[in-house]
């Protein structure tokens, strides 16, 4: 399968984000469109707040190794 440059760029960017645990809104939207097209997705800002809250807000996330 040949892929065009914009697609490659998006793939690389999303990989980079996942590598550093940066919230990936595009991937989330894509997921929502595919799995629950009828349900409303979070907005860009809501999404980031939600991710931060999940990552550090409940004691499970944010665990750093020595």
């Amino acid at each position: 399968m040949r892929r065009d440059w914009p697609t490659r760029w998006r793939t690389w960017r999303s990989g980079f984000r996942r590598l550093f645990a940066i919230p990936d809104y595009d991937a989330y939207l894509e997921h929502c469109r595919r799995i629950h097209p009828e349900a409303p997705a979070m907005s860009h800002e809501e999404f980031f707040r939600h991710r931060l809250e999940q990552r550090y807000g409940n004691g499970s996330g944010g665990m750093r190794c020595c």
Binding site: G15, F16, R17, R18, L19, F20, A21, I22, P23, Y25, A27, Y28, E30, H31, C32, I35, H44, E45, F47, F48, R49, H50, R51, L52, E53, Q54, R55, Y56, G57, N58, G59, S60, G61, G62, M63, R64, C65, C66
Partner: protein, 681 residues
């Protein structure tokens, strides 16, 4: 590639590795090149990964490529996301690698490069990587649940509670030790202190940028933050030289400790977007960048090791940490060889992103091998230093005295020739007023890295920059750990206390929040402060406690893995986890009991307490304490440390007991009793 060619290739790698290990182990008297250690390490890793981890994957665990993982089953686009194998490997590595593998090997270098190198290689192959891999597998077959939950469901609620108390204690000790590393690195160093303080407004600026100016643009924000950080390092020199700002930013250790305690409290109650999240990203980028730069530097410069293979300090008289090679070397190098803390990461975010169960081998086993490689690089950085400089930086002031003349005399007396001029010059090269007694690993590593980088760029003038870059990287990383760790500790305390008094569990309540935070900060803060005023320099006392607790957690995780193997009716392979568990038990229990009961007051807490109590009874003041009040505090802290040590020993013994019972029950049961989650397809 065809099969026989493959075997020829692996045989060649094995031979090369054996030759390299031979050179490292048998070379006596002459200096050897760091490349030999790197070659030995890389060949060992390749062979171990190709053969041993494959054996674990296919025979011991029976990884099933057709089984649905939690990420696939529960894919929500948020926490559970099937992720590319290589990306998840990087993600996992970034989460497990921290200051630990950089500090332990540096301290262990006092016994020479050989014991540390061998323990890292053997430890990671048979214990550390096995633990990370198996916990990742076990968690991914249980909906990505945490180690504590797994222990609760596989061993029972009581061992579950004991394990969570153990984890909380480890958190507290880790936070105290990490904070102590920062204090040791920044005491009397206005340049370092300035850059670290500068990270706070930089992080706040980044936080505001990320929240209000350009929401979610992490990469953009990090570039801005990185540039500001570099400016802070570069102009830190001018600030330190400034007639008013320089002295104003020069703090003794005690003041820095109090500032860190205050910081820990404030930072952990602030909203996460304000300080924690932006700095977390920045420190992750720096961490990965730092490891890459160091690897390139060592490969290109190929420095010679100045430290001998073995020093006379293997007998336990070393100034950096007390105690003989067995068991204390195996306690000092925890992260890098085997780190119990990784079990928490391997049962944290990683299993929720695993695309296919078979990837657990590359991510769990391979990720830990990479961390061992980082530990090897840290060891090399410490061993390329002039041994005299190494001991000047890592021995406490009570052994060295406080002037370069006294220090060089003492160190030359140990058999490592050094002149006061070299000590003064090294301090000047890295832009510090003194390098004496800067224990804790970070400054030593920073000098080693500065030496490599300045050679790489062919200019001695850059040494000061690289030194402060390395210090800042570690300090930044540690501040993030303190901030995040205090939060995690707070939740753990709330959870534990909630068992006795339900309202404590209410995480939204300000009162229970503040109580738990105060308890958490109070505990690590007290240990930190006693470490700073400790006559032996703190690291000497606290690092072994940290090592014991971390290995203890590894023993708990491996015991759990053993029980799970029995429950899966795969007990014929259980030696894979029983062997490392037994070794860890022997090490932690011997070290724990020696820390308690060893007759040498340098090693045994109780012997030390007794020595000081006797002196108090005779109204004598023992150096380096200056009055009876300090003496009393020393005695109290000795008893506190003994208590902690005894608690660790009890926790690990009881977990082993519960483990044996569960394994026996699973063995006599005719059925498979592992509680795996099977998703309908």
């Amino acid at each position: 590639m065809n099969k026989s060619l493959q075997y020829v290739m692996f045989a060649a790698i094995a031979v090369l590795g054996a030759v390299a290990i031979g050179v490292v182990a048998l070379n006596r008297g002459e200096t050897i090149n760091a490349v030999w250690i790197l070659t030995a390490a890389l060949c060992t890793f390749v062979i171990a990964y190709r053969f041993y981890s494959l054996f674990i994957a296919t025979k011991v665990l029976g990884l099933d490529p057709d089984r649905r993982t939690p990420a696939v089953e529960r894919n929500d686009g948020l926490d559970y996301v099937p992720t590319n194998k290589y990306i998840l490997y990087g993600h996992h590595f970034a989460a497990i690698a921290g200051a630990g593998p950089l500090v332990g090997p540096v301290l262990a270098s006092q016994m020479g490069f050989l014991p540390g190198t061998l323990w890292i290689l053997v430890g990671v192959v048979f214990a550390g990587a096995v633990q990370d891999f198996m916990v990742l597998f076990i968690s991914s077959r249980r909906d990505g649940r945490s180690l504590g939950d797994i222990i609760k469901s596989e061993l029972g609620p009581i061992p579950g509670t004991i394990a969570s108390i153990g984890v909380l204690l480890i958190m507290i000790i880790i936070l105290a030790v990490l904070a102590l590393v920062v204090v040791k690195a920044l005491a009397e160093s206005p340049w370092g202190t300035f850059t670290l303080i500068a990270t706070i407004p930089i992080a706040i600026l980044m936080g505001v940028y990320l929240r209000f100016i350009r929401p979610g643009r992490v990469a953009e924000m990090s570039i801005i933050g990185f540039v500001l950080l570099m400016l802070a390092i570069i102009y830190g020199e001018n600030v330190a030289a400034h007639p008013t700002w320089g002295p104003a930013l020069t703090f003794p250790g005690t003041t820095l400790a109090l500032m860190l305690i205050g910081y820990g409290f404030v930072a952990s109650v602030l909203p996460v977007w304000f300080l924690l999240a932006p700095r977390d990203y920045l420190s992750t980028f720096l961490k990965v960048g730092f490891v890459a730069v160091l690897a390139v530097g060592i490969l290109v410069v190929r420095p010679d090791l100045q430290m001998p293979g073995l020093t006379k300090f293997i007998d336990g008289t070393g100034p950096v940490f007390a105690g003989a090679l067995f068991p204390f070397l195996f306690i000092t190098i925890a992260c890098g060889a085997v780190s119990g803390f990784h079990a928490l990461i391997s049962s944290g975010t990683t299993p929720k992103m695993l695309e296919n169960e078979t990837h657990a081998r590359f991510i769990g086993y391979g990720g830990m091998l990479t961390e061992a490689f980082v530990a090897i690089m840290a060891l090399i950085s410490a061993c390329i230093l002039n041994p005299g400089v190494f001991f000047a930086m890592n021995a406490p002031a009570s052994a060295l005295g406080t002037t370069v003349e006294q220090a060089s005399q003492v160190i030359s007396g140990w058999g490592f020739a050094i002149t006061p001029e070299i000590l003064t010059m090294t301090a000047a090269d890295v832009g510090e007023s003194s390098i004496l007694s800067r224990a804790g690993g970070a400054p030593t590593l920073a000098v080693g890295m500065a030496q490599i980088m300045s050679e790489l760029f062919g200019s001695r003038a850059t040494m000061a920059f690289w030194y402060h870059f390395a210090i800042l990287f570690e300090a930044l990383f540690i501040l993030t750990a303190i901030d995040a760790g205090t939060r995690v500790g707070r939740f753990m305390i709330q959870d534990l206390l909630g068992g006795f008094y339900a309202p404590m569990r209410e995480t939204r309540s300000w009162a229970s929040n503040l109580v738990a935070t105060t308890l958490c900060v109070g505990m690590w803060g007290y240990i930190l402060y006693q470490g700073v005023i400790d006559p032996y320099g703190g690291i000497n006392t606290l690092w072994p406690l940290f090592g014991i607790s971390n290995q203890m957690l590894a023993a708990i995780a491996l015991t759990t893995a053993t029980v799970v193997l029995f429950k899966m009716k795969r007990e014929r392979y259980a030696w894979v986890t029983i062997v490392p568990t037994t070794w860890l038990l022997i090490c932690t229990l011997t070290a724990g009991l020696q820390k308690l009961f060893h007759p040498d007051p340098r090693i045994g807490f109780l012997a030390h307490a007794e020595k000081f109590t006797e002196a108090i009874a005779q109204n004598q003041v023992l150096a380096p304490a200056k009055d009876i009040a300090t003496m009393n505090r020393v005695v109290f802290n000795d008893y506190l440390n003994s208590g902690l040590c005894a608690l660790f020993v009890l926790v690990v013994l009881s977990m082993i007991g519960f483990g044996l019972v569960s394994a026996w029950r699973a063995y006599v049961s005719p059925r498979i009793t592992a509680r795996e989650v099977v998703y309908a397809t």
